[in-house]
């Protein structure tokens, strides 16, 4: 909407206003200046004429003393008839009229004029003396000249000035409008084009037809800017939609392609297949040869996969060693040969640092619309199929509705766990550990539990593995650490020093800043470090022994106790553990639970306790469920035990009640 203010602020309007104001001033000066000159000129011309004529006439009839009485009437008549003379009167020295002719005025008193226009009679009255031959005044003539013609000429001059000024103003207005339009039209065009560019429509080339150099240069600059924006936008779009390592489309672009295919509902495009494949043995290659070789393997794999696909197919890297392929317009039967091609491509060997490596992959696939009607659904089901294939050791597997619901649950939990952490659906459960020598509580182990709003309590094994797979283990561990340290600090302030043991994932040990985050929490809650125990599995220590040793040593140095969890299930030995800053060993529940009935398990527990004590380590037996096992452990001089025999893991309020009623406190 054009408001009066915006109308006035427009360039064309301003130019027009300037032109109008300039011409209003200029034309007034021209009109009145030129008019005054012309008027003065006509008046002077008239005055010259009447003065010359009157005195010439007087001079012509001077020279004879009697002449005044014998005036040539015809000459006077001629003057009146042919000139501008209105009347002429000859008088003697007594002002007696001797002769008169023409339209005489009726004025009682003759008043001579000395300037043009005096009086309202349009007659210039003038007197000229008549002399005789001796120069004596013998009378005078009074003549009246008509000013009307001169006045009409003056009026005509003013009229013409006005007409010329009007024509000039009109032409100036038309020209300035035309040239104003010529200037503002390309600017308006540029404005529209820049507005389009500002709204992301970069494709229209900026061109304007103008002969104004500055506007042309402006247009070229904007076109240059647009071209740069297009280039940058394409580059950014490519970065946003492609994997930087392999150059393949990423998850976002894949989703877009799948949605496009799904939304194209014509019969010929009705079916499509989404394939998810996960490389086998890639982790080993990465661990053995390093990330540089791992990356080159991924690039080579991507290249091989692309070669194995049709032109219409879309392959994307989902992350890590996981890829997905969209097979558009492909019924499930037609997908089989393509998947066989993929399998063949992946079975080719790579040369890594002189070693021939065969990767192989687990492939799962799902079909639209049979198995799912959205991208998320198809991906989830193809992933389930892939997981089943991997578990079963198969190369490929099509999704089947009866597949293990746990796999589906695992995938669902992965997406819901993030919300659970953010919305505080998790809670801490505490299981006491009893010192067998002193019959008192020596600490508690914190076990995280998830109260799902729909599913109820979710078993920890289900969601912890989902967290590790979904990259949420760091957030989950942080939640657990905060809950444990907060509770231990509360007990500490209450006068009860109850060490809290917290389980760590192997992935926590390779996180940047993990150690600092623990120290920050201890400082935040003012908890002495010796009241915190961290439990790690053998596998997490020995996956990267040097890195783990460094982190564990620095944590141990602060006073935090380190425990090896599930000892006996891995492949480590006490000799290897000796190098680690470990204080406690927790014997896996599998040995403890069967100890009473299985002599081998009892022997392993016995030997483990013996050797641990020899190395100066404390031993905790997990999974104690009966009196007989307790007695054996006491006989074997086990330090600490925990299990259902003493108490199940309890929420904090149940734990506090147990604490009050227990004989171990």
């Amino acid at each position: 909407m054009i408001t009066p203010l915006s109308f006035l602020s427009r360039l064309t309007t301003r130019m027009m206003i300037i032109v109008i104001v300039m011409h209003a001033v200029f034309l007034n000066v021209l009109y009145f200046g030129l008019g005054a000159v012309v008027e003065k000129g006509y008046q002077s011309q008239f005055v010259d004429y009447v003065r010359a004529d009157a005195f010439n006439f007087a001079a012509n009839i001077s020279g004879h003393s009697n002449l005044v009485n014998h005036i040539n009437v015809r000459a006077i008549e001629e003057a009146v008839l042919t000139g501008r003379t209105v009347y002429l009167k000859v008088l003697d020295t007594d002002r007696t009229t001797i002769e008169e002719i023409g339209d005489l005025t009726n004025n009682d008193r003759f008043i001579e004029d000395f300037v043009f226009g005096h009086g309202d009679d349009n007659i210039y009255h003038i007197v000229a003396s008549i002399y005789d031959a001796d120069g004596q005044n013998i009378g005078s003539i009074e003549v009246g000249y008509d000013e009307t013609d001169t006045q009409l000429q003056i009026d005509l001059a003013y009229q013409r000035c006005l007409i010329f000024a009007a024509i000039y103003a009109l032409i100036a207005f038309i020209f300035s409008s035309y040239f104003g339009q010529q200037m503002t039209r390309p600017i308006e065009s540029l404005l529209k084009l820049t507005s389009k560019i500002a709204h992301g429509q970069y494709q229209t080339k900026v061109t304007v037809k103008t002969k104004v150099t500055e506007i042309d240069r402006l247009a070229r600059s904007i076109e240059f800017m647009r071209a740069e924006l297009v280039t940058q936008s394409d580059s950014m779009e490519h970065l946003a939609l492609h994997d930087s390592l392999t150059g393949l489309p990423n998850r976002v672009l894949l989703e877009d392609r799948v949605n496009q295919t799904i939304n194209c509902r014509s019969s010929s495009h009705a079916e499509c297949v989404l394939v998810v494949l996960d490389l086998n043995h890639f982790k080993e290659i990465n661990d053995s040869f390093g990330h540089v070789i791992g990356d080159s393997v991924l690039k080579k794999t991507a290249s091989n996969l692309v070669s194995a696909l049709r032109a219409s197919d879309t392959i994307a890297r989902l992350g890590g060693d996981e890829f997905a392929v969209l097979l558009p317009e492909t019924p499930i039967d037609s997908a089989i040969p393509v998947i066989e091609n993929l399998t063949a491509a992946l079975s080719e060997s790579f040369i890594c640092e002189g070693h021939s490596v065969v990767l192989g992959a687990s492939i799962g696939f799902a079909s639209f619309p049979e198995h799912g009607t959205s991208y998320q659904e198809l991906l989830q089901k193809a992933d389930v199929a892939m997981y089943v294939a991997k578990r079963a050791g198969m190369t490929s597997q099509i999704y089947q509705p009866h597949f293990d619901q746990d796999a589906l649950l695992r995938l669902t939990l992965m997406s819901e766990l993030k919300i659970a952490i953010e919305e505080d659906q998790l809670f801490a459960a505490f299981q006491p550990k009893i010192n067998l020598q002193e019959d008192r509580v020596s600490g508690v182990e914190l076990l995280v539990r998830w109260m799902h709003p729909q599913r109820g309590i979710v078993p920890p094994d289900d969601f912890i593995s989902a967290a590790e797979r979904g990259g949420l283990i760091s957030q989950l561990t942080q939640w657990v650490l905060r809950a444990g340290i907060k509770q231990a600090a509360a007990w500490h302030q209450d006068g009860r020093d109850i060490p809290v043991a917290i389980n760590l994932s192997p992935k926590n040990l390779i996180e940047d800043g993990f150690q600092q985050s623990i120290l920050s929490l201890l400082e935040e809650y003012s908890l002495p470090a010796h009241l915190l125990e961290l439990e790690i599995t053998e596998s997490s220590v020995f996956a990267d022994p040097l890195g783990a040793q460094e982190i564990l040593e620095s944590l141990h140095a602060t006073g935090i106790k380190i425990a090896i969890d599930d000892f006996g299930t891995g492949y480590s030995s006490l000799v290897q553990l000796r190098k680690m800053p470990i204080s406690i060993i927790k014997i896996d529940r599998g040995f403890v639970m069967n100890m009473a009935t299985n002599d081998d398990d009892a022997a392993i527990v016995d030997a483990t306790i013996y050797m641990a004590h020899m190395l100066g380590l404390k031993v905790i037996a997990e999974g104690l469920e009966d009196q007989q096992s307790l007695e054996i452990l006491q006989q074997l001089n086990c330090d600490i035990a925990q299990g259902y025999f003493f108490a199940r893991p309890m929420n904090i309020s149940d734990f506090e009640q147990w604490w009050l009623s227990s004989s171990y406190t």
Partner: protein, 154 residues
């Protein structure tokens, strides 16, 4: 057009009013006279000679060339002078003087805007003449009337 007419009326009526007022409010009829220094002893100029001298032509008395000085101090007296002596319009008179100067190389007729200065010039040169109202000459013993050029009709 209205403004032009207004200008015209103001200009013409201004001068006319000036002249008319002089006529109405002056008890004594006004007279425009040719004046010179009291010391001037040359023969008085005829009207024709007066016209000649003010048009820049030589008028001599013996070997002495008389000098004319225009009195442009007063618009009304100047217009009467133009009509009665020079018989030209102001514009044409100026053009004639300028044309004659360019043509002959002789000095133009001097003009004086100040009556006091004019009188001093007349005192200093007894061969110079000028035009002024009779009332400006009366009671001035250094100036004398050489000739009456125009007398207001009563």
């Amino acid at each position: 057009m209205v403004i032009k007419r207004l200008n015209h009326i103001i200009y013409s009526w201004g001068t006319a009013l000036l002249i008319s007022l002089m006529m109405v409010f002056t008890i004594q009829a006004k007279e425009l006279v040719l004046v010179g220094s009291t010391a001037a002893d040359f023969k008085p100029l005829s009207l024709f000679e007066t016209r000649k001298i003010f048009l820049g032509y030589q008028v001599k008395r013996g070997d002495i060339t008389l000098t004319a000085i225009r009195n442009i101090n007063d618009e009304a007296s100047y217009q009467i002078f133009l009509q009665k002596v020079v018989h030209l319009s102001a514009r044409n008179y100026e053009r004639r003087l300028m044309s004659k100067t360019f043509r002959t190389g002789t000095a133009t007729v001097q003009a004086s805007e100040s009556l006091t200065t004019l009188k001093k010039q007349l005192y200093s040169n007894k061969y110079s003449v000028s035009v002024m109202w009779l009332k400006d000459v009366e009671l001035n013993d250094k100036l004398k009337v050489i000739q009456v050029l125009w007398k207001e009709s009563t």
